[in-house]
C-alpha cells in the first residue's frame, strides 16, 4: 500500500475565510513517478503544494507520506523527512555563491549549524560534494558566482541542485519552467527526466508540452477539485478537461 504510493491525501480541504481553495482532494503519488498537477489559473495547485509541504495548514483532511501521517507536522520537519519543495519564484540565496547555496543544504544534515564559535572553514568538507552536485546540473562554471548574477534558467538548475543536496525521497517542483526560454526549458526537462530515475517528483506546470513529455500521470484540478486523472493521451481526449481549459461551449 504505502510502498506503492509515497504520498497520499485523503479529503484534503483548505478554506480561506469562506472561500474554498482546495476541496476534498484525494491524491496518490506513485513512488518513482513524475506526477504533474495541472489546471487553469486559480485551480488551487499552489495551495495544494503549500498544504503538502505544510506551509499552509489544511482545514480538513489527511496527508500520508510513506505511510506516516504528516498532517500536523511543521514545514521544516516535513523537509527533514525527505519531502522537499521548490518555489514558483526561483528560490535561491541571492548573495551567496552557487557553491554556498548548495552547501547550506548539505550543512543541515551534519548538526553543526548552531556552532557560532567555529570558523566556517569547517564547512569546507562539504565543498567536494557540493561541486559534484553543481556538476550534475551543469553548473560547474558557476560555482563562484553569486546566485543573483546567474541567468534565470541557471538559478532554477541551482535550486534543483540545492534540493538534491538534501538527498530527498520526493521533490515537489512548483512551476519549474515558469518564465524560461526554450533553451532553458529543454535543459531543465532533461535534468528533471534524469533525476526522476532516483526520485519521485510531483510538479505543477503550465507548459503542457513539458507536462506531456515528462509526466507519467497527470491530475487536473479545477476550482480546487480533482477533475480528472490519467496520462496525457487519455486526458487530451477528455471533453471535461478541454472545457476547463478553454471554457464551456468551445468546440
Amino acid at each position: 500500500m504505502s510502498d506503492e504510493f509515497i504520498l497520499q491525501t485523503h479529503g484534503l480541504t483548505k478554506e480561506f475565510a469562506g472561500f474554498v481553495a482546495v476541496r476534498d482532494v484525494n491524491l496518490k503519488v506513485r513512488r518513482g513517478s513524475i506526477h504533474a498537477l495541472i489546471g487553469p489559473n486559480g485551480a488551487g495547485k499552489t495551495t495544494c503544494f503549500n498544504l503538502l509541504t505544510k506551509f499552509l495548514t489544511p482545514t480538513k483532511g489527511q496527508i500520508l507520506y510513506k505511510g506516516q501521517d504528516i498532517t500536523s507536522l511543521q514545514p521544516a520537519a516535513v523537509a527533514r523527512l525527505g519531502l522537499v519543495r521548490s518555489f514558483q519564484i526561483s528560490a535561491v540565496f541571492p548573495h551567496l555563491t552557487a557553491l554556498e547555496n548548495v552547501r547550506v543544504a548539505l550543512q543541515r544534515q551534519h548538526g553543526n549549524s548552531f556552532d557560532f564559535w567555529r570558523s566556517k572553514s569547517v564547512l569546507d568538507v562539504y565543498n567536494q560534494r557540493a561541486e559534484e552536485l553543481l556538476h550534475d546540473v551543469g553548473l560547474s562554471d558557476f560555482a563562484k558566482t553569486p546566485a543573483v548574477e546567474m541567468p534565470y534558467g541557471r538559478k532554477r538548475a541551482l535550486e534543483i541542485a540545492t534540493t538534491l543536496a538534501l538527498d530527498p525521497d520526493m521533490m515537489l517542483l512548483d512551476e519549474p519552467m515558469a518564465g524560461m526560454g526554450h533553451e532553458d526549458i529543454d535543459k531543465i526537462s532533461v535534468l528533471i527526466k534524469r533525476i526522476s530515475a532516483k526520485y519521485t517528483i510531483l510538479m505543477v506546470e503550465h507548459n503542457l508540452s513539458v507536462v506531456a513529455h515528462l509526466s507519467d500521470i497527470i491530475t487536473v484540478l479545477t476550482r480546487g477539485q480533482v477533475l480528472a486523472e490519467g496520462n496525457y493521451a487519455e486526458l487530451s481526449k477528455d471533453q471535461r478537461v478541454k472545457e476547463a481549459y478553454l471554457g464551456a461551449g468551445h468546440e
Binding site: 521544516a76 523537509a79 518555489f87 553569486p146
Partner: protein, 323 residues
C-alpha cells in the same frame, strides 16, 4: 555585470579576508594610540561602548534581517545590573560585567521567545513595546533610583590587578573588551551558524524548505545580539560611573539604528564608524543644544537618500571590497 565579491578558488566566497584583517589591524593601531594622541580618552571610551552596542545590533539586522527597535533594553539592563552589583553588592568589575551580561541574556531569552513569533514590522513593534514596558519598570523600581539613576559607581580593581580608576588602565581594559567582542561578532558572522543566518536573511521560506527550523536560529541570533548589547551597557558603567534611564529610553534604540545605517548596515566595520560619527557629533556639536537632534535627523535623511549603504558600505562597494 561585474562581481561585487570575488571568491577563492574553491568557490566559497572568502571575500577579502586580507582586507578585513588589514582594516582590523589599522583600527586596532589607531585605538591603541589614542592616549598619546591628545584626543579626549573619555570620548573614545564612550564611543567604543556605543560601537560595541551598534555592532551587536548589526549582528541582528545586518546578518539575520531582524530590525529590533528595542535594543536599548539590553544596553540599559546590562548597565543597571552591573552598576547595582558593583555599587550595592560591592562585587569586582569583572563579576559585575558577567552579571550584567547574564541579565541581558535572560532578557534576550524572554523577549526573544515573544518577539520572534512575528515577522517584519510586527517584530520591530513588539521589541519596541517590550523595551518601553521595561523602561517604565526601571522608572518605578527602587534599585534603579528612577530619574536619578545609579550614580557614583565605584570603578574598582578588575581581576584584582587593573585599577580602573586610572584613566589609562580603564582605557585599555575597555579597548581589549571591545576588540575581543568585535572578533567574537566577526566569528559569529563567519561561522556555520552565520551561514544559516545569512540564508534566512536572504530567503526564509527556502531555508525552511531545506529543513531549517528558522525560529530557533533567529532566537539564537537575538540572544547573542542582546548579550553583546548588554556587555556594551555593562562596560559603559565603568566609563561613565553611572547607569541611567537614558540608556533604556526608546531614543537610544533609535540612535543605534542611526549609527548602524550611517556606518553601513551589514558591514563588519560600519557600525564602529557610525558610532564614532554620531558620538563625535553629540560631543562637538553640544554647543548647539537641542539642534543636535535636528542635525542628526538631517544626516539620517541625507544618508538614506544619498548613500544608502552607509560610509563603509559605500567605500566597500566603490572599491569592490568587503569590509
Amino acid at each position: 555585470m561585474t562581481t561585487m565579491t570575488t571568491s577563492s578558488a574553491d568557490g566559497v566566497s572568502k571575500p577579502f579576508i586580507r582586507d578585513e584583517m588589514w582594516a582590523f589591524l589599522i583600527m586596532t593601531a589607531l585605538l591603541v594610540m589614542v592616549p598619546v594622541s591628545g584626543i579626549y580618552p573619555f570620548f573614545v571610551m564612550q564611543a567604543l561602548c556605543f560601537a560595541l552596542f551598534a555592532c551587536a545590533f548589526n549582528l541582528l539586522i545586518g546578518y539575520s534581517g531582524l530590525l529590533s527597535f528595542g535594543h536599548a533594553m539590553f544596553l540599559g539592563t546590562g548597565g543597571y545590573v552591573t552598576a547595582h552589583a558593583a555599587k550595592v553588592w560591592g562585587v569586582s568589575p569583572e563579576i559585575g560585567i558577567v552579571l550584567g551580561v547574564a541579565a541581558a541574556v535572560a532578557l534576550g531569552v524572554i523577549t526573544g521567545l515573544i518577539a520572534i513569533r512575528r515577522q517584519g514590522i510586527y517584530f520591530s513593534m513588539i521589541t519596541l513595546a517590550l523595551s518601553q514596558l521595561l523602561y517604565f519598570v526601571y522608572l518605578q523600581t527602587p534599585f534603579t533610583h528612577g530619574e536619578d539613576g545609579i550614580q557614583g559607581v565605584p570603578q574598582g580593581m578588575m581581576f584584582g590587578i587593573f585599577d580602573l580608576s586610572k584613566p589609562i588602565t580603564l582605557y585599555y581594559v575597555v579597548l581589549v573588551i571591545f576588540l575581543l567582542a568585535f572578533l567574537l561578532i566577526y566569528r559569529i558572522i563567519n561561522s556555520p551558524f552565520g551561514e544559516v543566518l545569512k540564508s534566512i536573511r536572504e530567503n526564509e521560506p527556502r531555508a525552511i524548505s531545506l529543513g531549517y527550523k528558522t525560529d530557533q536560529y533567529k532566537l539564537m541570533a537575538f540572544i547573542l545580539s542582546g548579550a553583546l548589547a548588554g556587555l556594551a551597557g555593562a562596560v559603559k558603567v565603568f566609563v561613565a560611573q553611572n547607569a541611567s534611564l537614558t540608556d533604556v529610553h526608546w531614543t537610544m534604540s533609535g540612535e543605534v539604528v542611526l549609527m548602524t545605517l550611517v556606518g553601513g548596515l551589514g558591514t563588519v566595520f560600519g557600525p564602529v564608524i557610525g558610532a564614532f560619527v554620531i558620538i563625535a557629533m553629540q560631543q562637538y556639536l553640544a554647543s548647539f543644544g537641542q539642534w543636535v537632534l535636528v542635525i542628526q535627523g538631517v544626516i539620517f535623511v541625507v544618508c538614506v537618500l544619498t548613500f544608502r549603504r552607509g560610509v563603509i558600505g559605500e567605500i566597500a562597494h566603490y572599491f569592490r571590497r568587503s569590509l
